[in-house]
């Protein structure tokens, strides 16, 4: 069973002839140097970058042909961070995820229970009434994740979700993503190869808009590939690696 299928997928700048198939569950990380096309690829998968070249389907239907509302019930996208100018509460931000299901102007009981579920999973219920802008980076990231979960998606796309988090929260987030990946597809762009190595089922490495490696993390993230793509010397130490210039 597949979810996303890309064939000769490209974009005006930043991505060339990418061909791959994603399963319906599992944690896939996308790694690569700055400007390698990671965010572009994620944006295409999320339906936010078009027109793209080649083909990219979700559940057999071309991504650009999905209605936005239908697509948002299947695929949830998490930006790296959001910057709010206005005083939305954490709960209001979470409830925005219910938009693809909204039938009217008012939230339903189902919306509210979905929000409570998502906020329980992400441990954000404690500050549901607080102004989003007053939250710490880690708390914000979890609120955004909760918002995506209320979409009840089949696939979750995350753009560098751990960037603003401290070490403990990075691990906690990836552990949670690993849990979620048992029942849905989780695709995360990351700069941290150790997180990719430790938590993902599959890693895709991009270099100059092309796929340089794709497969099991232990196989793909070998010192030769890392030296070639990132230009650093990596040394494996069992389940983790160190690098030097």
């Amino acid at each position: 069973m597949t979810s996303f299928v890309a064939n000769q997928l490209g974009f005006a700048y930043g991505l060339h002839e990418a061909t791959f198939e994603f399963p319906r569950n599992g944690l896939i990380t996308i790694a690569g140097p700055n400007g390698a096309g990671k965010s572009t690829l994620l944006g295409i998968l999320a339906g936010l970058r078009s027109p793209y070249l080649g083909s990219c389907t979700y559940a057999g239907k071309e991504v650009r042909q999905w209605s936005k509302r239908e697509f948002a019930r299947k695929v949830a996208f998490l930006p790296q961070s959001i910057r709010l100018e206005f005083p939305f509460t954490a709960e209001e931000v979470v409830l925005m995820g219910r938009t693809p299901y909204a039938r009217g102007w008012f939230q339903t009981d189902e919306d509210r229970s979905a929000a409570v579920d998502a906020m329980t999973i992400t441990d954000t219920l404690g500050f549901r009434a607080r102004d989003f802008r007053s939250l710490s980076g880690g708390e914000r990231q979890r609120v955004i994740l909760a918002s995506a979960l209320t979409q009840r998606p089949e696939a979750l796309l995350l753009d560098e979700p751990a960037t603003h988090l401290d070490l403990r929260h990075q691990l906690a987030l990836y552990r949670l993503l690993g849990e979620l990946a048992k029942s849905l597809l989780v695709v995360a762009v990351t700069h941290d190869l150790n997180l990719a190595l430790q938590f993902s089922h599959r890693v895709m490495v991009l270099e100059d808009g092309r796929i340089a490696g794709d497969g099991a993390p232990r196989k793909v993230l070998n010192p030769e590939l890392i030296a070639h793509v990132f230009g650093v010397q990596a040394t494996m130490h069992g389940s983790w690696m160190s690098y030097e210039a």
Binding site: A46, K68, A72, I82, L84, E85, P87, F88, M96, P100
Partner: protein
């Protein structure tokens, strides 16, 4: 949310009922309705139309302020940011310089022209972005200001006075037929944008955020720009630019109610209307029979109140 809307309705009704009774000459409501002169004329032909105009104008400017701040994600945005009112001012100034009496029509034409020009610039390639809108609007403002300065420089003494008065903004009694179509448009457009309140919430966070949750962001942004411009253009053509209302009413409401547009838009309509009616009533009573330009009062009354709100920063329905 329901409570805040009901409270706003009550405030608006109280203000709108009391305002026409206040003024430099004392009138009695009974005599006004009985058709006794001069109470009847003062009430129905001098004060009531002006109160209705203030109500609709304040409502339209506040709703536009909420929309533009949301779309541009800029707390400093206001109804005059995107250029339409400058177009209206240029139209009016040209009319004054050419000695036309229909300044209202000319300013309406100026507003419409700018609206079409900005749209033409910004929708190129079907990628209407708030950034292009903002830059185009600000440029329009500068160009319009230059044209006004140029014409002002050429104008005669009496024309120059008329131009200054127009640019100060102010409310005057207008025909009931004018008020009727203004009411239809202002109420209609405000209801339309309020229907989309849940989507404005997402757009206030970001374009990608909204688009990845099923919102057609280009269509929504275009609707917000056209709706806000129609409201501002119409009101400006009748009153001239009245500052502060469209900037401060939305912020005051956000401090009290939060950022949810489902409460924000209806309350901005109701309390924005009430605020301008109250300011206009003060402007014609404080040092009667001389009038203070209403823009002076919106800033002088609204400013300190807003600063106090900002300082207390407590979210609640009651003050």
């Amino acid at each position: 949310m329901k409570r805040s809307i009901i409270l706003s309705v009550v405030v608006l009704i109280v203000v709108a009922v009391l305002a026409p009774l206040a003024g430099s000459s004392h009138i009695e409501l009974g005599r006004a309705f009985a058709g006794v002169s001069p109470d009847h004329e003062i009430f129905f032909y001098a004060r009531l139309p002006r109160v209705i105009l203030a109500l609709l104008g304040g409502a339209a400017l506040s709703v536009t302020g909420v929309l533009f701040q949301c779309m541009l994600r800029d707390p400093l945005a206001e109804p005059y940011t995107l250029g339409v009112s400058s177009g209206a001012s240029v139209g009016a100034v040209i009319a004054i310089c050419l000695g036309w009496r229909a300044t209202g029509v000319a300013s309406l034409a100026g507003a419409a022209l700018v609206l079409l020009m900005v749209l033409g610039m910004a929708v190129e390639g079907r990628r209407l972005s708030s950034f292009t809108l903002l830059l185009t609007g600000v440029t329009m403002n500068s160009m319009a200001f230059a044209v006004i300065l140029f014409l002002h420089n050429l104008a005669s003494f009496s024309q120059s006075f008329a131009i200054s008065r127009w640019l100060m903004g102010g409310l005057e009694a207008v025909e009931y037929s004018t008020l009727a179509w203004l009411a239809v448009v202002v109420i209609g457009v405000s209801v339309l944008v309020t229907i989309y309140a849940p989507h404005w919430n997402l757009l206030a966070v970001g374009d990608d955020w909204a688009a990845s949750r099923g919102v057609s962001t280009v269509r929504l942004t275009a609707m917000g720009y056209i709706a806000g411009s129609v409201l501002t253009g119409l009101v400006t053509s009748l009153t001239g630019p009245i500052g502060f209302v469209g900037l401060i009413v939305p912020h005051a409401l956000r401090l009290k109610l939060g950022a949810d547009h489902r409460a924000l838009l209806p309350c901005a309509f109701l309390l924005g209307g009430a605020f301008l009616v109250a300011c206009d009533t003060l402007s014609r009573t404080v040092i009667a029979p001389t009038e203070i330009p209403v823009g002076v009062l919106t800033a002088l009354c609204g400013g300190p109140f807003f600063l106090w709100l900002l300082k207390s920063r407590r979210r609640s329905l009651w003050l």
